[in-house]
């Protein structure tokens, strides 16, 4: 038994080629049905996203090269591409390497932005397509479920997805560092820029209680207020609302400072020095950077956010190193589970062995029984075999059960009890 993975990703292959190889959901399903013939390619699964096209298959060890060949042929056929155009850029992983690759993909270690959560959903969908197409079996089912488990472990045990890597989400993350929780906090959105809107949405999802929106022209602010469940306020009276705002997100097209140092100083006195958090996403800046010098005021402009994002990406990469260790230990566990899966035939062997014992005993004791008709002889044999079968039935069905559950320890115990070889 061998697991083979052939494919391209954003590291191995430029987008120009990847987009030619990409397959729609329907193309994946029909492609799988034609690729998986049950003899050479026994099981199959295709992950096709904007960053990768990968074909995962299970085959007999002797058919490894043939399988790879068929996958390449399939990719050529499905996309009507000359194979010279992509063949050299394909990577091929077998067995442990293929397992490692799938685990890393599902855990978002192989992603462009390490730790992004979407890839797991994409693998899930690829699996459900293959499941519907009926091209997964014992091995791939187990492998993919194991990959989901690894992904979950990586997410909960490392901080790989912990720190924001998008500017719009930074508002939430930094806000949490300042305010702890957003319950009871008020956000003020100045301008209706796309980035500011996205940041505000994140804040609302994170639990900000009140959202005030203001814009030079009132209509966009009203529309957004309806959508976010906020309150539109008069742009001209900005200074009056400033003291209420714990978080201010500013993104307008104005060429000057809309929020001045004096405004913030006044607001802070009214706030009794409670901390205030300003995010300026506009270029040129709309919030006077000088307010950063005021105690209890924290201001971030686009450049600041960018640099935090890149430092967070570095932090994620550090966490990724720990995730790799989890992947390695899970590969070992998967190997164990796989060995257990392969013990399925042992049940049949045991049944045969018990029946053979019954027959041998009959042969040994045959002389004592005296003359018997052939019908009587076969009757005795049937009696013995069916007795053995009846007695062993609960044991064998338990054994099958353990095999299906792939409980390696119990299967090993079964083997030890009956002295079965691997």
């Amino acid at each position: 038994m061998s697991i083979v993975l052939v494919g391209v990703n954003h590291k191995s292959t430029p987008l120009a080629v990847r987009e030619l190889l990409a397959l729609s959901d329907d193309a994946c399903a029909s492609g799988l049905r034609s690729l998986v013939d049950g003899e050479i390619v026994r099981e199959g699964l295709i992950v096709s996203t904007c960053n990768r096209v990968e074909v995962l298959t299970e085959t007999a060890e002797a058919q490894l090269n043939e399988t790879t060949e068929r996958i390449i042929e399939f990719l050529t056929r499905a996309n009507e591409l000359p194979r010279t155009q992509f063949e050299t850029q394909l990577y091929q992983h077998t067995d442990d390497q293929a397992v490692r690759h799938l685990f890393r993909v599902a855990s978002s270690l192989d992603s462009m932005v390490v730790g992004e959560p979407q890839v797991l959903g994409q693998v899930r969908r690829a699996y459900s397509i293959a499941l519907e197409a009926g091209t997964t079996g014992r091995i791939l089912n187990r492998l993919v479920h194991h990959a989901f488990r690894v992904a979950k472990r990586v997410r909960t045990e490392t901080g790989i997805g912990a720190n924001a890597v998008s500017i719009s989400y930074m508002a939430v993350e930094l806000g949490k560092k300042i305010f702890d929780s957003f319950a009871g906090q008020t956000a003020l959105l100045i301008g209706a820029g796309e980035m500011a809107e996205l940041a505000a949405r994140h804040l609302v999802n994170a639990g900000v209680s009140n959202v005030l929106l203001t814009n030079r022209s009132e209509e966009p602010a009203r529309a957004l207020a309806r959508e976010l469940g906020g309150t539109p306020v008069d742009f001209g009276r900005l200074a009056e609302y400033l003291p209420q705002a714990d978080i201010v997100i500013c993104s307008t097209a104005a060429g000057h400072y809309i929020v001045t140092e004096q405004m913030v100083r006044d607001a802070l006195i009214k706030r009794r020095n409670r901390p205030a958090f300003f995010i300026d996403i506009s270029v040129p800046r709309n919030i006077d950077p000088a307010i950063g010098k005021i105690p209890n005021v924290f201001v971030f402009d686009v450049d600041d956010l960018e640099s935090v994002v890149s430092s967070n990406i570095r932090e994620r990469e550090r966490e990724a190193e720990r995730a790799e260790l989890i992947v390695e230990s899970e590969i070992m566990q998967f190997q164990q589970a796989l060995r257990a899966l392969e013990s399925g035939p042992a049940v049949g062997a045991l049944k045969q062995m018990l029946q053979d014992i019954a027959r041998q005993e009959l042969k040994r004791q045959r002389n004592r029984l005296g003359a018997l008709s052939p019908e009587q002889e076969s009757g005795i044999e049937n009696l013995l075999v069916s007795t053995v079968n009846k007695i062993s039935h609960p044991v064998l069905s338990q054994m099958r059960h353990s095999t299906d559950a792939s409980d390696a320890e119990i299967i090993q115990a079964w083997r030890d009890i009956f002295g079965l070889e691997e």
Binding site: K177, F179, P275, N296, S307
Partner: protein, 272 residues
């Protein structure tokens, strides 16, 4: 009681190591181990202190060994309260190693039994346990203020300079550490006030003097003034955040002077 104290030390060391590892690795499981070990250590510690009191016949705050052990005990008690109230686990990363160190010194220190100290006079009054216990809890509270203030300053600096290291992501939010510092200041100051008052009461009942001008008294008074001003400033909201945090740090320097004052400079307060 040394063997019991050794068990206490072992539990605290386990708790401290796991707290540090949990801080670094952000692992919940490690944190649980740390908290369980701390709980076990605290229980044993309480038993050890109680046993000392019963066996030695005096409140266990005479010799350096006892003082350090008792201080560690108050720190663990304070940290437990903070855990319960704020779930601010990172504080343990800094408090538990100190606790372990204090208990370690307590274990290796041989108590010099000096019969010339007026143990008899002390043994007779109920004011001694009250006076000292209150002040030790006040010290612990001020240490918590100190740690929370340092955490505040580190994060405030990071947010102002926009440079976020690994530590930044692991500390509790500014609001949380600020609240911890504020409430600990209030609690510490209350304990300090009552502690000083009982001390004066005791002193006046002994020799009719409220004030002996001894270094410990002077430093205690300075400490008291500083924390009163901190409370006042915090409540008038002028000095929120960074300035308040700096006072919390400076205040702890005074607390250390108060604590070691008698030892270094001698005076009326003969015990640790």
């Amino acid at each position: 009681m040394r063997s019991l104290l050794l068990a206490v030390l072992a539990a605290y060391v386990v708790a401290a190591i796991h707290a540090v590892l949990a801080f670094i690795n952000k692992r919940r499981a490690l944190q649980r181990v740390s908290e369980l070990a701390m709980a076990a250590g605290f229980l044993l510690h309480t038993v050890a202190l109680g046993a000392d009191w019963v066996i030695d016949g005096h409140y266990p705050l005479f010799y350096l060994r006892e003082t350090l052990s008792f201080l560690a005990w108050t720190l663990v008690a304070s940290y437990s309260l903070i855990l319960y109230r704020y779930r601010a686990r990172p504080l343990g990363t800094f408090i538990l190693p100190l606790v372990s160190l204090l208990v370690f010194i307590a274990v290796v220190t041989h108590s010099v039994v000096d019969s010339s100290t007026n143990t008899i006079a002390v043994r007779d009054t109920w004011l001694f346990p009250v006076h000292t216990t209150l002040l030790f809890f006040a010290y612990a509270a001020f240490f918590v203020v100190f740690v929370a203030s340092v955490m505040y300053l580190l994060q405030e600096r990071a947010l102002k300079l926009k440079t976020f290291g690994a530590i930044f992501h692991r500390l509790p939010s500014l609001t949380t550490v600020n609240e911890i510092a504020t409430s600990s200041t209030a609690i510490g100051l209350t304990l300090l006030t009552v502690g000083i008052a009982t001390g004066m009461l005791w002193a006046s009942s002994r020799d009719g003097l409220l004030w002996h001008n001894d270094p410990k008294e002077i430093f205690a008074a300075l400490t008291w003034l500083l924390y009163v001003s901190l409370i006042v400033y915090r409540s008038t909201a002028d000095w929120r955040g960074r300035r308040a945090a700096w006072i919390g740090v400076a205040g702890f320097a005074l607390v250390l002077c108060t604590f070691f004052g008698a030892r270094m400079m001698g005076g009326y307060h003969v015990f640790g």
